[in-house]
């Protein structure tokens, strides 16, 4: 193995370690630096604020642990992310967070945050309501107002001042991190053999957890390693994977898809392309730049929790499937994810009208019988392959 390859493996190894346990990483980071951690619920918290305040922003993650005490404070008909997060709060494993922030993503998250606040009375659980309606006349003003308040909220939480300069530094660092991950996506789209779907997930997930400067360094090593690899021969069925807007799909499912003979050519997963799609551009007032970034994000990768008549998720998906030369789309829909439930019929209708195959798979925190999933995915691959080579 040459040096670049070894470097690549080591960098991936560090990322995998962080991705395996946000808690372990955060506690060790706190130990090393003596600074504070702010946990955030998905999806739209501008973590640059925490970076600028000298803290470590961590996107809260679903963990594989069985839900135990959590089921005494939240019902089972909630998505895996909310149940796991509540379970972590109730069992004391969110102890790495000195503060928590959440926004109005969906009503399940609002409920989970209410429970988390009651379970963790000693920390500040801060709410910021970023407007869902993207095109109302007051949208930009209201979002500006909310982000300004959030800045003050984070300042209070971390007992420090966030200067404009510090905020711009953070924005540039995060932009750099995002752009490197996007480069990895580009390399992989051309040659999916470069990384497995789980490796790609590890790269994004570790970015959500690790110190961004540290992570950016690792990314540079990964990108260098990848650039050297020769393109492979691509005879598999290509699929686009959509869904899971708040938490990472289980690696077992991604592996199943690959085992069934498909390559995941591209995605719009949160722990995937969604997290890195849009940078914050501009100069001058950093809050204004963040507002514009928030508004631009939905046009880049549509989010069903946003209300925007000009942006059609189904149109985006059809284009993305075509652009990635995929034979079809696999939707991973977390059970009880209402935002996804609402939008799915539009996607179904559009894909059926265009004759593009898609497969809907409901996921949940508890393990689904893998055999049943395997059968569905294999059938889909058989169907897609037959259309491709018909």
């Amino acid at each position: 193995m040459n040096v670049l390859q070894q470097d690549f493996e080591e960098a991936m190894g560090e990322m995998a370690l962080a991705a395996a346990s946000a808690r372990a990483y955060a506690l060790s980071w706190k130990d090393r630096t003596g600074r504070k951690v702010v946990g955030s619920f998905p999806m739209h918290f501008p973590a640059e604020l925490v970076q600028a305040a000298g803290g470590l922003p961590v996107v809260l993650q679903e963990v594989a642990d069985e839900i135990t005490v959590g089921h005494g404070v939240i019902f089972p008909f909630y998505c895996g992310f909310t149940r796991s997060t509540v379970d972590q709060a109730a069992s004391g494993t969110l102890d790495f967070a000195d503060g928590i922030v959440f926004g109005d993503t969906c009503v399940q998250i609002l409920g989970a945050a209410d429970v988390v606040r009651m379970e963790l009375p000693d920390i500040n659980v801060y709410f910021f309501q970023l407007l869902a309606c993207m095109r109302d006349s007051w949208t930009e003003e209201n979002v500006y107002d909310t982000l300004s308040k959030s800045r003050r909220g984070v300042e209070q939480m971390l007992d420090t001042e966030i200067t404009d300069d510090a905020l711009w530094s953070a924005i540039h660092l995060f932009n750099q991190n995002r752009s490197l991950i996007r480069e990895i996506y580009d390399l992989r789209r051309r040659n999916p053999d470069l990384l497995t779907a789980v490796e790609l997930q590890t790269i994004v997930k570790s970015s959500m957890i690790m110190d961004k400067t540290e992570h950016t360094g690792l990314l540079q090593r990964v990108v260098s390693g990848l650039r050297e690899r020769a393109p492979g021969q691509d005879r598999s069925v290509r699929v686009f994977v959509s869904g899971h807007m708040c938490h990472a799909p289980k690696p077992e499912i991604l592996n199943l898809i690959e085992e069934a003979g498909a390559i995941i050519a591209d995605d719009d997963l949160y722990t995937g392309f969604r997290y890195v799609s849009t940078d914050i551009e501009g100069e001058g007032d950093p809050i204004l730049a963040m507002v514009r970034g928030y508004m631009a994000k939905n046009a880049k990768v549509p989010d069903p929790t946003k209300i925007d008549p000009e942006v059609d998720w189904e149109g985006y998906l059809l284009k993305a499937v075509a652009a990635s030369r995929s034979q079809g789309m696999i939707i991973l829909m977390p059970k009880y994810c209402e935002p996804h439930y609402y939008y799915y019929p539009e996607i179904k209708e559009a894909f059926e009208a265009q004759g593009v195959p898609h497969l809907l798979i409901e996921t949940d925190h508890e393990e689904a019988p893998l055999e049943s999933l395997r059968t569905r995915i294999e059938t889909f691959v058989e169907l897609a392959r037959q259309r491709e080579f018909a």
């Binding site: 497995t196 085992e259 003979g261």
Partner: protein, 301 residues
């Protein structure tokens, strides 16, 4: 010199085997009531089929396995899912059909098919048992009625009762409660049929109803469910005595395609990084044993 192909459907409750000749005629078929828990089931079905056809295993040009236990069969060159196989098999039985409803032991499926028997869309019941053979089995036991009798008995029932539970366990509670109130067994059985039909209608709606509709799978033998489903569909169902073997038939036809193309095995993907237990290629790519070592010389188990 005739070409023969074998299809094996190794399901959760039963094993089915079908042999076709090069004219796509069914030469033999067999159903054994031993499912994937008992490995002999598939071997018995194959042996029985070969015996009926007067063939040895070597005379079979290609074998494909399908069903829940498809990967457990060493003698198959490759596996194809039961959905794809049921579509092909139902199409062979009923060339006009454009939709297949398959209610088996563990799951139920609705498949939209084209005129060549290709799957266009499909939907399967999610992890709960409602609407499957197992659901009916649990409830038949609760009523102390043999499974093979529930169909005829249910036709004597009225239609005033509904069982609303989606879960087999809660449905069982409802059934027990109805019994305690003195509701007749035929009435309860009729309600169970309605419930199964209703669940199936959900899947039909998801895929989008297309006609004519064929029904395959073990529950197709239950005349009560068939009638309830026909009523809710507003369509007659195409069913044959051999409906249960649709999956195996489809697998046999795919095997025949393979045999015609001179293909012994076609790997599903070239650089597969996971387990390679599903297919066998001469030369042993990926650590698999060559086919010849696994085909028993004596077809009788």
């Amino acid at each position: 010199m005739n070409l023969y192909a074998l299809g094996v459907d190794f399901g959760s409750m039963t094993a089915k085997a079908v042999i076709v000749d090069q004219e796509k005629r069914v030469v033999a078929w067999s159903v054994i009531d031993k499912g994937v828990m008992i490995e002999d089931g598939a071997r018995e079905a194959i042996a029985d089929c070969l015996h009926q056809a007067g063939l040895t295993f070597e005379q079979v040009a290609a074998t494909i396995s399908t069903g829940y236990g498809r990967r457990k069969l060493d003698m198959a060159q490759r596996t194809i899912t039961e959905i794809t196989c049921h579509a092909r098999g139902a199409n062979a039985m009923f060339p006009d059909c454009r939709m297949v409803i398959d209610i088996g032991g563990q799951d139920s499926k609705v498949i939209a098919v084209d005129d060549a028997g290709h799957v266009q869309e499909f939907a399967m019941n999610d992890r709960c048992a409602a609407g499957t053979g197992q659901f009916m089995g649990v409830l038949a036991r609760a009523l102390d009625v043999p499974l093979q009798d529930i169909g005829d008995l249910s036709l004597k029932g009225g239609h005033d009762i509904t069982i609303s539970a989606m879960c087999a366990t809660f449905a069982e509670t409802e059934v027990v409660s109805l019994r305690a109130q003195g509701t007749s067994t035929p009435d309860i059985l009729a309600a169970i049929n309605e419930s199964v039909a209703k669940r199936t209608m959900g899947l039909v709606r998801r895929v989008g109803k297309r006609t004519p509709i064929a029904m395959t799978g073990g529950v197709a033998r239950n005349i009560g469910v068939v009638r309830a489903l026909e009523t809710q569909l507003g369509e007659p169902l195409l069913i044959s005595d051999a409906s249960q073997t649709a999956g195996a038939l489809g697998a046999a036809l795919f095997a025949l395609d393979d045999a015609r193309r001179g293909i012994k095995a076609e790997p599903l993907q070239p650089d597969f990084r996971g387990e390679a237990d599903r297919f066998v290629e001469p030369g042993g790519k990926g650590g698999c044993k060559p086919a010849s070592l696994l085909i028993p010389s004596d077809p009788v188990a």
